[in-house]
Symmetry: C2
Subunit: 257 residues, 2 copies
Amino acid sequence: MKKKLTVIKVGGKIVEEEATLKQFLDDFARVEGYKVLVHGGGRSATKIAAQLGIESRMVNGRRITDAQTLQVVTMVYGGMVNKNIVAGLQARGVNALGLTGADMNVIRSHKRPVKDIDYGFVGDVDQADGEMLAQLIDKGIVPVMAPLTHDGQGQMLNTNADTIAGETAKALAPHFDVTLVYCFEKKGVLRNANDDDSVIPHLNEADFKKYVEEEVIQDGMIPKLENAFQAIHSGVSKVNITMATAIDGTQGTIIEK
Amino acid sequence: MKKKLTVIKVGGKIVEEEATLKQFLDDFARVEGYKVLVHGGGRSATKIAAQLGIESRMVNGRRITDAQTLQVVTMVYGGMVNKNIVAGLQARGVNALGLTGADMNVIRSHKRPVKDIDYGFVGDVDQADGEMLAQLIDKGIVPVMAPLTHDGQGQMLNTNADTIAGETAKALAPHFDVTLVYCFEKKGVLRNANDDDSVIPHLNEADFKKYVEEEVIQDGMIPKLENAFQAIHSGVSKVNITMATAIDGTQGTIIEK
């Protein structure tokens, strides 16, 4: 039987503010078994970019990443945010290792082709390698992954943190019984957007399609759930959409095959 | 018999300019056997700090690291410079892994006590752990180390790259036959500062002391060589002081027991 592993994705908002970061790291340190953390950092990137006189441009919630912006996100995600988390976890007895996709060639991507929009140095994932990661995890290392990849030709690329989490979970699925947890500002997927307690506790694909048709599930939640079902179809045991304060894999919305 | 490993320390100047970086990465990729790269990045840190309106203050060649400056060096050394090198090495078939001392708890330090000068968030090394590093190196991973450490209490600290290189070489000495290479703007330790070809090919401790007394060896070269002899006394087989374009461990000045 495969050992349990939890891949937890947390957004920038939680890890960029000292109080919420401390609480989150306390909670993450308490998660039992093997684990991986994937973080964002968009707010810090926007802030540092502004201080450097670089304007942040977003299209459909995605950052347009020109050469200067790539330098900023590489600094902020790979350096500032990542190392702050790693040091914080080490202080809590978690043997964290900060990684981008370039490190040990863990996640390779290609620059997104220009269609209607030129996203610049944004990477769409080609391949995530779970082999080396699994060996490290087995030795007690806890990978902390920044939302950056590389193209294998020397180019770093900016990659969505939800995607990094999904790809990492899938790559580790042959080695572990993987639960993928997406932290979110709500308690879970809601039946009624105006009622924070209307969490849908379990969601299968048929129900998801029905909810989308009925417009119960809308907007940004749709790609998030599509990612979730894709992960389930690729060997991930369970996807959990929940609040950052409830990451034990039992609360919020649970998606299973 | 232990396998050969080369720890190469390269200063910021080489890795911060695209042309010299490319040449260096080509040369580094060609170094045979197990290897580790330790890099600086001070010029980029000074540049980014200036762009952020933060003044860089140096005392005896060391950066005074207040909280804002620590954030800059964490971004620049751990993110920008480190990941640029890692991606560049991956493109050359070198399976690089970027690390700070916080990652896998590789190098732990304490904040330098304030005596005459308050250096701020600068770490003096307490302990480097070669065990996990050695296991990774044995699997073909090439660590790329940024000049940052942590105190085990959640605090990142700025640490001199020469020190990182020396401590890493010593920590790996029980596992490998270690050569420590310090890249330098001259061909080696010079007998005559005005003659670039007056390299001292071999240096032992008795000769070193004599040269210091005679003022043949002066200034910044003295602590560098003291570090070198300390490494030799702690199990490192050979220290090599040479140009960044001659890192095969045979040129420049060689220091052996």
